[in-house]
């Protein structure tokens, strides 16, 4: 895993709030996926290790990482919402692609809020990573399953 830069003075680094992440997440699920999502409370509990994580990194004048962690069932539900009429017989790669796009869209919105000279990496899929002290971990409910959105900043 790439190390996040730590040389930014905390007082000068723009912080994204939980409310902003909640709004970005709601906008994505409501307007583009047509899926109802609720919650957004800050969670002390770490996402289950056997779930799927997609993440993007923001690198440059502002460094951060946006992770989305979902169960296999919810990942498949998100993929069905994205693929619409062609959602039958989705293969694993298409399900992971869909979850990657969730991280990509929310991460891109974070980058837009920061509005500094940064690059957004392509989505990476893997196992859930530990939630560290500088992480904002939020828990949502969608399609009767939990969804975690973690912002490392």
């Amino acid at each position: 895993m790439a190390q996040l830069a730590t040389d930014q003075p905390t007082s000068e680094k723009m912080k994204i709030t939980a409310d902003q992440v909640t709004q970005m997440t709601n906008d994505l699920f409501d307007s583009m996926l047509g899926m109802h999502i609720s919650g957004g409370d800050v969670s002390e509990a770490a996402p289950p290790q056997d779930w799927i994580q997609s993440k993007v990194q923001i690198q440059g004048a502002w460094n951060g990482e946006l992770r989305v962690v979902a169960s296999g069932e919810l990942s498949a539900a998100i993929a069905r919402a994205m693929f619409g009429s062609e959602a039958e017989n989705l293969v694993e790669q298409e399900i992971l692609d869909a979850l990657g796009e969730v991280a990509n869209v929310i991460g891109g919105n974070v980058k837009g809020h920061v509005d500094q000279d940064c690059d957004l990496t392509l989505p990476e899929i893997g196992e859930p990573e530990q939630v560290s002290g500088n992480s904002l971990c939020q828990q949502f409910t969608c399609a009767e399953s939990l969804l975690y959105v973690v912002l490392v900043q």
């Binding site: 796009e101 990509n104 891109g108 837009g112």
Partner: protein, 120 residues
């Protein structure tokens, strides 16, 4: 009208296609490319009227695709549909020759309004 949708994510190409169907824009066809190189080939062979491209793609970013299109003298209408919503992104897109930038997540209304203005 023929539209070329360029995105490395098949899921996102599906969303753009489906959202286009939800707009009131009629009489159009879509073709798809999964990367910049494929897009350049299709622009040459299919001659689309409009290119809708993602920004952040492997190998060739959307902005590099646009630079190559303009460098070849092709003035096809070009817009980005991207999660990259910073002012810097918008300024670079416009200065390179893009007609618009739509930020993800987007709705059918946003897409329709943008395309109607462009096609008016």
């Amino acid at each position: 009208m023929k539209m070329l949708i360029v995105d490395d994510s098949r899921a996102m190409r599906m969303i753009v296609t489906r959202t286009l169907k939800q707009t009131g824009i009629g009489d159009y066809a879509t073709i798809e490319a999964a990367n910049g190189a494929e897009a350049l080939t299709l622009i040459d062979s299919e001659k689309p009227d409009l290119v809708l491209s993602d920004w952040n793609m492997p190998e060739m970013k959307g902005i590099e695709l646009l630079e190559k299109i303009r460098a070849s003298g092709n003035e096809v209408r070009f817009g980005f549909i991207t999660s990259e919503s910073s002012n810097e992104t918008r300024e670079l897109a416009t200065s390179t020759g893009a007609q618009f930038v739509i930020t993800k997540p987007f709705t059918a209304d946003t897409l329709e309004m943008t395309l109607e203005q462009l096609l008016a």
